[in-house]
Amino acid sequence: MLKGKVFRFGDGISTDHIIPGRYTHLRSNLPELAKHTLEDADATFASRVRHGDFVVGGKNFGLGSSREHAPLVIKMCGVGAVLAETASRLFFRNAINVGLPILLCDTSGIQDSDELEVDLTGGTVHNRTKGFTVTCSRIPQSMLRILEEGGLVEYIKRHGDFEF
C-alpha cells in the first residue's frame, strides 16, 4: 500500500513539460536533470515533492517523446506512482520499464494536496481526504511482472529473456 500527497496536473502533460529540451545536455547526469522534473508545468514541483507522493494527471499523460528519462526522473524524485485518466503509449510502457507504477483511473475527483492510499495489486485508489475509492484499469499481466520485478533491466537480468 502506497500513501502520499497529490501533486495535481491537468490534461496533456507532455514529455517536454516533464523534461524540457533545453536540459537535454543533462540526460547523462540524471540527479541534475531530476531537479528540473515537470518544471514547465510546475516550477516548484521538484523542490516540494516528498518521497511517496503522487503525480496525478488528466488525459494523455506523457504524450510526445520516447524519452525514458521522463518517468525515470519522476521516479528519482521519490514519486510513488503516477495516476492519470489516460496516458500515452510510450510513457506508460517506459514507466513500467523503469519500475515507476502508473495507474489509469478516473482522476476527476482528485485535487492538489489530497491524501491518497494506492493499492497496486488490487488496483484501487482511496482518497482519504475526500473519502472515496476508484478502481484502476488492469495492467496486462506481462507488464505487471516487469513492474513488480523492478523494471525491464532487472527483469532481463533475472530471466535473460521475455517469459511471456
Binding site: P20, E68, T86, S88, L90, L152, V153, F162
Partner: protein, 417 residues
C-alpha cells in the same frame, strides 16, 4: 481470413495469426538509437551484462539531435556512442549525415520490416510499409541484445483517402487536418492505416511526412500499403530487392473509418501549444512570425525544399523574420545544391543549417526569444519545445513557412504562387 496491415505484418514476422489486442514477441529487423535517447540505451545494455548485439549489421547509432554539439555534455555522449559502435560492430551515422528517420527511409527500412527505434518519430518508416514504432531506451537495449521485442498487436483505424492534393496544399496539411479530427490522443495504441485510391496520389516523401506525425494522434504506427511508388523509391536508393507488395485485406476489421477527400483540403497550421490545435491558415493571416524554420524528419526532404525554393525565388525574407533551413540529410543537401534550391534560400536571406534535427527540440540552432513566434515544419509545438517556454510554435507546410518568411506573418502560401 482477412487482416489489417498491422496484423498482416506481425503475422508474417511471427509466423502465427495475430489479432488486435494480443501481445506477441516479434523479431526486430532494424534497431536504432539517436544521441538524446541513445546514451541511456548504451548504459542499460551494459547494465544487463550484454556485450554482443543480436544483429550488428542491422543496429544503427545516429548522431543527429546535437549536431554538431553545442555543449560538452553532448560531445561526451557522442564519444560514448562512437565507442559503443566500435566495440559492437554497429553502424554509426555521424554528425552531418542527417536525421535518423530520413536516413532510415533512404538506407534501411523496407515494407514488412519491424523497426524498433529509440525515438517517437520512428513511425516515419510506416510510409514505406514498415511496422516502425518508437520505444524507450531499455526496450531498445533489450531489442539490440535479443533481436526481438514484445508488441501489443494494435487495433486499426482506416483513413480512406480519395482525390489528390491541390496546388499549395501538402501532405503536411493532410496530416495536421487528420490530427485535428482525431485529437492528440484520438488514436492512442492504434495503427493508423492509410488506404483508398488517394494513396496512389501521394509520393513516398509525402507518405513519410504523414506517417511521421501518426504519433501526434497517439498512434503506435502509421502504415501505408507498399506499391509501385514504394518499389521505385527503394530502387532509386539502391534497395529494390527489399520491395514486397503489402496491403490490408479488403474487409479487414477496423475500429474506425475516416474518409478524407484530398482535393478539398486547405492549408492549415497547428497553433500553440498542441499539435491538435489545428485551424485554416486563412483565419490566422497577420499573426507575426519572427522565425521560419524549415527542416526536420517531417519537412526537410528534397520535395519540401523544392516547394520552398519556388515560393522564395526572387524574393527577400521580411527584415523581422529569420529564415532557417536544415536539409534532413547529406544527400538532400547535395541534391538541393545541384537543383539550385540552396542558392535560392541564401539569396532570399536564409541560413542553411547542417543536416540534422537543428532547431526542432530546443537545444541549439534557433532557440526562440520570449514572446517570439515560429512557423515550423517540424512535428511538435509543445510548450517549451524550441528551448523557451515563453515562445510560440505554429506548425505548417514548408511552403507556408517560406511564405511567412517573406511576408513576416502567417500567410496562405497560395498567395505567393
Amino acid at each position: 481470413m482477412v487482416f489489417t496491415l498491422a496484423e498482416k505484418i506481425l503475422g508474417l514476422k511471427t509466423g502465427k495469426e495475430c489479432r488486435g489486442g494480443e501481445i506477441v514477441i516479434a523479431p526486430a529487423d532494424l534497431v536504432f538509437i539517436q544521441d538524446t535517447t541513445g546514451p541511456l540505451t548504451v548504459r542499460q545494455f551494459d547494465a544487463m551484462g550484454f556485450t554482443k548485439l543480436a544483429n550488428p549489421k542491422r543496429s544503427v547509432l545516429f548522431l543527429d539531435h546535437a549536431a554538431p554539439c553545442p555543449q560538452k555534455e553532448f560531445a561526451n555522449d557522442h564519444q560514448l556512442m562512437r565507442d559503443f559502435a566500435r566495440r559492437t560492430g554497429a553502424f554509426l551515422s555521424d554528425v552531418g549525415e542527417g536525421v535518423c528517420h530520413q536516413l532510415v527511409a533512404e538506407s534501411w527500412a523496407g515494407p514488412g520490416d519491424i523497426v524498433v527505434g529509440a525515438d517517437s518519430h520512428t513511425v516515419t518508416a510506416g510510409g514505406l510499409g514498415a511496422f516502425a514504432s518508437g520505444f524507450g531506451s531499455s526496450d531498445v537495449a533489450v531489442a539490440w541484445a535479443l533481436g526481438k521485442t514484445w508488441i501489443r498487436v494494435p487495433e486499426s483505424f482506416l483513413i480512406n483517402l480519395s482525390g489528390s492534393l491541390t496546388r499549395g496544399v501538402y501532405s503536411k496539411d493532410l496530416i495536421l487536418h487528420l490530427i485535428g479530427l482525431l485529437g492528440a490522443d484520438g488514436a492512442t495504441y492504434k495503427s493508423l492505416e492509410f488506404g483508398g485510391e488517394g494513396v496512389g496520389n501521394l509520393s513516398v516523401p509525402d507518405r513519410l511526412t504523414v506517417s511521421n506525425m501518426a504519433i501526434e494522434a497517439g498512434a503506435k504506427v502509421g502504415l501505408f500499403p507498399s506499391d509501385d511508388l514504394t518499389r521505385e523509391y527503394l530502387e532509386d536508393h539502391g534497395r529494390g530487392e527489399q520491395y514486397i507488395p503489402l496491403s490490408a485485406d479488403p474487409g479487414a476489421a477496423y475500429e474506425r473509418v475516416l474518409d478524407i477527400d484530398l482535393s478539398v483540403l486547405e492549408p492549415v497550421v497547428a497553433r500553440p501549444h498542441t499539435v491538435d490545435n489545428v485551424a485554416p491558415i486563412r483565419g490566422l493571416d497577420n499573426t507575426p512570425v519572427e522565425q521560419a524554420f524549415i527542416g526536420t524528419c517531417t519537412g526537410g526532404r528534397l520535395e519540401d525544399l523544392a516547394e520552398v525554393a519556388s515560393v522564395l525565388k526572387g524574393k527577400q525574407r521580411h527584415p523581422d523574420t529569420r529564415l532557417l533551413v536544415a536539409p534532413a540529410s547529406r544527400q538532400i543537401l547535395s541534391d538541393a545544391i545541384q537543383a539550385g534550391y540552396v542558392q535560392t534560400v541564401i539569396e532570399a536571406g536564409g541560413i542553411i543549417l547542417p543536416p540534422g534535427c537543428a532547431a526542432c527540440l530546443g537545444m541549439h540552432q534557433g532557440v526562440l526569444g520570449d514572446g517570439e513566434s515560429c512557423l515550423s515544419t517540424a512535428n511538435r509545438n509543445f510548450l517549451g519545445r524550441m528551448g523557451n517556454p515563453n515562445g510560440f510554435i505554429f506548425l505548417g507546410s514548408p511552403a507556408s513557412a517560406a511564405a511567412a518568411a517573406i511576408t513576416g506573418h502567417i500567410t496562405d502560401p497560395r498567395e505567393l504562387m
